[in-house]
Amino acid sequence: MKALEIKGLKFSYIGSEDSAIEIDHLSIEDGETVLITGKSGGGKSTLVNCITGIIPHAFHGEYEGTVEVYGQNVAETSLAKLSTEVGTVLQNPETQVLNYTVEEEVAFGPENLCLESDDIVSRVAEAIEITGISSLNERETYALSGGEMQRVAIAAVLSMRPKLLILDEPTSNIDPEGTAKVFEILKRLKEEKTLIVVEHKVERVLPFVDRIIVIDNGKIFLDIRSHDLIHHVDKMLEIGIEVPIHYIYARKNGIDSDDLDLIREKLREKGMIPASPLRARPARTVLRAAILVSTASGKPLADCSIDLEERHILAIMGRNGAGKTTFLKGVMGFLDTDLRSEVSIILDGRDISGEHIINRGREIAFVPQNFDLTLINKSVEREVAYSINKRKKKSYGNRLDELMDMFSLSDLRYRDPLSLSLGQRRRVAIASAIATDVRVIMFDEPTSGQDYFHKEALGRELVRLKEAGYSIIVVTHDSRFVYKYADRIVVLDKGKKVLDGTPEAVFHESWKYSVLPPSDFLLRSDEYELVNY
């Protein structure tokens, strides 16, 4: 039986002349597991919305053709009816979780279906069992980690007992441990349901899928079996999709295999193992931060000392709750007043531990994950000039123009920062954060939820900043990004520093702390044993 059949689908949003999606024919069999991939803005989410019925029922536009899910025409079937056939898990669990307790969240769907309370109880129990979240049952949803929240979101969809489950970038906002748990659930569900996973990181989902569909510019660009991917690497790269690095080298060197060990072996035989990225040389310490933080009841949150060298990019990694964000907050003076803390911050040999945020901000900049919250002015120019105007120092001279040039913002000078694209907004946020005498820049999860294109742009920006003399701390879960751009990694676990060194050194044993090495590292590493993870 066909789980999904699309014929002649064409949809354009209100106010847009171009079709957001145009598919002549697509069918997915019952029980298949399919990866849909493509760049951000390429039409993946529109396609998902057409399958779930959000288009045309909730989001409107010009709609042509038919989409059938298990034989039911989506446009003619109510969303409520469709919700028992097809379930959707979205990228950001924070925006999709509606209720305060886990149990309420999982029960939300069945309650909407007006089921008897006994039936709701059994569905909730079943969904909680499948997703392994019984220990979270009575927790408040807002207090969960990203990974935990995403599992709750999956449970909340499973309680509707859909036959087709769509997961739209389900792991892009969560840590590796959370990601692994989500994939454990998927492995289990693969036997029972038709799965569509939308993801731009192909490497992550490859082991689970039977088929890969690539969407580009609203059209199907590729539709292949997953084991055939190695033969289509060039096409994937051509449209800017991230593929495992060993696939690229295998293709380049004519190795017809997708097995990493074999590819490494062959490359070694040919003397073609690529060199590791260049790391900055050891330099003098610019920032030395020792942070000891516990809750009012004495539960330790962070107890670590981290040094940042000049003109270095330091990545801080570790599972959720390891103390990474607490460390950043300690450095900036953002810690909640009801926490107990002892903080020592030495910047360039000066002790600034007792300084107010205003004074710390003179030399330390912070770009939060939600950097949109920092854009308070009505034009890009005023946003970037904000610190300069507030601190009013003559020595800043042409600083504004320098920054506008450095971040390619000159053409956007009079635009509203809030109406810019994601990449442009981030550039404005960084430029305005470093506008005065900043020496150290700290980024909290800048790679979270970003596609390959945006991550590469971010990486290039960080390198440029490093070259311009800034020292940088990045908190991230993205091993591949870290391997490519960081000079040093510190891994935190339960608030303590457990590993500290170059990416080459740290990735050898970081798996112990849920920091998985990327294929870039594995391809180059002789000693690393895959059995370790």
Binding site: I14, P56, H57, A58, H60, Y63, A75, E76, L418, S419
Partner: protein, 258 residues
């Protein structure tokens, strides 16, 4: 004081005759009922609209009880400017700009009132406040939305009628009234419509509240000189805050890409 904080005084000196108020509220309710019947009532609001309304109410509450409440301490009571009015008007204009459907004013005022009762007032004086705020502030906003048609605050808004037919489904891209002012640039239209709603909103507090609700709830003498002065004195603020609110709304709606 009578039941639930309502004294129920109907003959305070100068008080607006209850028959007039009843007529106004009755006409208001009739309008809501008929309009609701014509357009589908609450069902016409999408889930997204309901979320916008909830968020707007949350902002209005944060302003009314926290940020604005404290700023207000620096400003002595006066007939020219109101901190609470400012925040609430801007929050509601933003919701109106995001939803752009007749009825949003009244529904948003209802939610705002309900939330205020839950977190602070404990349903004191209800249901008077529900009726008063929905059928004055809310209704006035809805009247402006109805007049503006599909072009509220200069944000062109084609009909969002669900489409469920077979074959090619038109989303009514160009259907519906384009509005009376479709040739006016968005910025001016946003400011003008903001001002119109702002000026409308300047009336209920002095007129209905001081002229009827306050004496009805607590008794006292109604000073019509003060009421008329209150309406006139507040208009400059209403114009400025309305214009700013309209422009902020346009900015936000553009930023989130409606």
């Amino acid at each position: 004081m009578g039941l639930n904080g309502i004294s129920g005084i109907l003959n305070a000196p100068g008080e607006i005759p209850w028959e007039v108020v009843l007529l106004f509220f009755g006409a208001g309710l009739l309008f809501v009922f008929l309009w609701g019947k014509k357009t589908g009532g609450l069902a016409k609001f999408t889930t997204l609209d309901l979320i916008y309304i909830g968020m707007g109410a949350a902002f209005a509450v944060v302003w009314e009880f926290y940020i604005g409440a404290f700023l207000g301490k620096f400003i002595p009571p006066n007939p020219f400017f109101g901190i609470g009015y400012t925040g609430r008007l801007i929050a509601l204009l933003i919701v109106a700009g995001l939803v752009r459907k007749v009825g949003v004013g009244m529904v948003a005022m209802f939610i705002f009132n309900l939330l205020s009762d839950l977190i602070s007032y404990g349903f004191s004086g209800e249901p008077m406040y529900f009726l008063y705020e929905m059928l004055t502030y809310g209704l006035m906003m809805d009247i402006v939305i109805a007049i503006a048609g599909k072009n509220l605050f200069g944000i062109r808004s084609p009909s969002r009628k669900p489409s469920t037919g077979k074959g090619k489904i038109e989303a009514n891209k160009n259907s519906g009234s384009p509005g009376l002012f479709s040739n006016i640039p968005a910025v001016y239209l946003a400011a003008i419509e903001g001002i119109t709603i702002g000026v409308f909103w300047a009336v209920p507090e002095p007129l209905f509240y001081s002229g009827f609700i306050a004496p009805f709830l607590y008794g006292g003498v109604v000073d019509w000189g003060a009421i008329l002065f209150g309406i006139v004195a507040f208009i400059p603020t209403a114009i400025i805050v309305g214009a700013i609110g309209g422009l902020i709304t346009l900015r936000i709606v553009k930023a989130v890409g409606q």
